[in-house]
């Protein structure tokens, strides 16, 4: 064995550990550079902008101001200097939260039975059913929103059918209402509800369900007392996964709300576009971010609890 390649002296464990550390940071460099230039860095700039004074034609004046944060919830009357709540903003906040909650509930009502249905299929078929859920999820959000728009607009499929069959004479105005935004968001975010519920449901041991029936539970009692508690972390995770993107939704309310049913995302855009108040836009964006982060903390907790369940 004397010819074995043993000649080059190998480094000591300490040197190896040091090299490992260095190569780790070297490997991370490309990703971290890209992310700090186009994700983390800009986010910090937003924080700075939210404390500046708006420029006349967009942009900012480099002058410190707390007004943007103040203006998120309140405004000073232009003539009387009187303080009052920013009703327009609060209305948008309220609509965002209300529609996001309603979307999450609607998604749950449809998604829970669907996830249950898939989880109770034979093992080799489940993946195919899940693929049917995944395909719409990974297809363009704008196109899916547009598909809903074609369905419910005044000259759209539903109204055309109803008028042709003589049920109605005038098209029902569904587009550009809260209803259309709600339907659209439910449609586009439904897969986000089904995925985590399915993940919990798939691990559900149906012996437990059998034990439930064995102990005289009815179908509804089994559902309420056994299945639901066991997949609850998935339900919580799914609800937050739907709630969060709804809160920050931009495309769906813009297309289906038509500029009338503003949500937070659209209000932020307005500040950067027509209203040219970048600092206020920055403050609104950070407010949105804060709410989302709170929701995500609950999400992480729900996922963590599930981990404990299966440990």
């Amino acid at each position: 064995m004397s010819d074995m390649a043993l000649s080059d002296p190998a480094p000591s464990p300490e040197t190896r550990a040091r090299r490992e550390r260095r190569s780790r940071w070297l490997l991370l460099t490309p990703a971290l550079v890209i992310l700090s230039l186009a994700a983390s860095g800009p986010l910090l700039v937003v924080v700075i902008y939210s404390f500046l004074t708006p420029g006349d034609y967009g942009g900012v004046e480099w002058q410190f101001s707390l007004d943007p944060w103040f203006n998120v919830v309140a405004e000073r009357d232009f003539f009387t200097e009187e303080l009052k709540l920013a009703d327009a903003h609060l209305l948008v906040f309220w609509r965002s939260i209300k529609l996001s909650l309603m979307t999450a509930i609607l998604c749950l009502i449809v998604g829970f039975p669907t996830a249950y249905f898939i989880a109770t299929r034979p093992a080799h078929r489940r993946d195919m059913w899940m693929l049917l859920i995944m395909i719409p999820f990974w297809t363009n959000l704008l196109i899916r929103t547009f598909a809903i728009m074609e369905l419910i607009r005044n000259q759209g499929t539903i109204n055309t059918l109803l008028m042709a069959s003589g049920v109605i004479d005038e098209p029902i105005q569904m587009l550009y209402t809260e209803f259309s935004v709600l339907v659209g968001m439910t449609y586009v975010y439904l897969p986000l509800m089904i995925l985590p519920i399915y993940a919990s449901m798939e691990r559900l041991d149906f012996n437990l369900v059998e034990a439930g029936y064995d102990l005289y539970a009815t179908r509804l009692q089994v559902l309420r007392r056994i299945i639901f508690p066991l997949v609850k972390p998935g339900v919580v995770a799914g609800s937050i996964l739907v709630f969060v993107p709804c809160l920050g939704a931009y495309v769906t309310p813009r297309v289906l709300g038509g500029g009338k049913q503003l949500m937070l995302g659209n209000l932020i855009e307005l500040q950067f576009g027509q209203l040219r108040n970048w600092p206020l836009g920055a403050a609104l964006a950070l407010t949105l971010l804060a709410v989302v982060m709170v929701a995500l903390v609950f999400y992480v907790r729900a996922i963590g609890r599930e981990g404990e369940h299966n440990a």
Partner: protein, 266 residues
Amino acid sequence: MRKGFDVRRQPGFTAIAMGCFILLYLPIILLVAYSFNAGESIAIWEGFSWRWYASAWENEQVKDATIRSLILAASSSAVATTAAVLAALATTRSKPWRGQTVVFAMVNQPLMVPEIVTAVSLLIVFAVVKSFTGYTGLGYLILAHSAFCIPFAYMPVRARLQGMDLSLEQAGSDLYGTPLQVFRHITLPQLWPGILAGAMLAFVISLDDVVITEFVKSAGQDTLPTYMLGQLRRVVTPEINAISTALLAISVIMVTAFFFINKTRK
């Protein structure tokens, strides 16, 4: 004889599930169907025709946006996948290390922060850069897309790495492979499906992006989705359906391929 008692059945669930699948697919199917409509309506069927595909094909704006979308998706998925594979190699299967929380937060930021927030933050930063350098090219979009594609490329590669049997690489070095040889002959061949899956996800995500592109693009830099968003305000003809159908086809092919690559894991 009494019908067997099925413990898995819950009344009404199957009906709701079927309704859910119909809800998911009906709008898309209608959208695709009307792209072949001979008439100008998106609700009244007047016979089969390829005319809207032809008209989209001849539309210079559409052609321009399509090419830009594809260049953008190809280059940013390439950049993102490369960066993500390197990052996954650096962060998987090691003991806890200093700075890992910050790195994970940064990598996952595009998944957590609402798109509109990222979009306005990029608008602010790139506006400053644009006015300083005068450069208004595609670079901004490639950079922005690369950033939000990184977590999507990172996830499947990381999953693959974590699922990989550690003893395979140990066997490689036990059999006299240097670290580089072990990576080339053992790790990389195992990793390919993950890399391919990550690249495809990144491509689809980049191709579909509307919000960030809308805020970052300079004048005349429409991609297909931003072009469509602009068109939706006008009278809609089935030409939009035709473009949508083409985009849908790309996504469906990619996602299905991704699904099967992931399935043939072991």
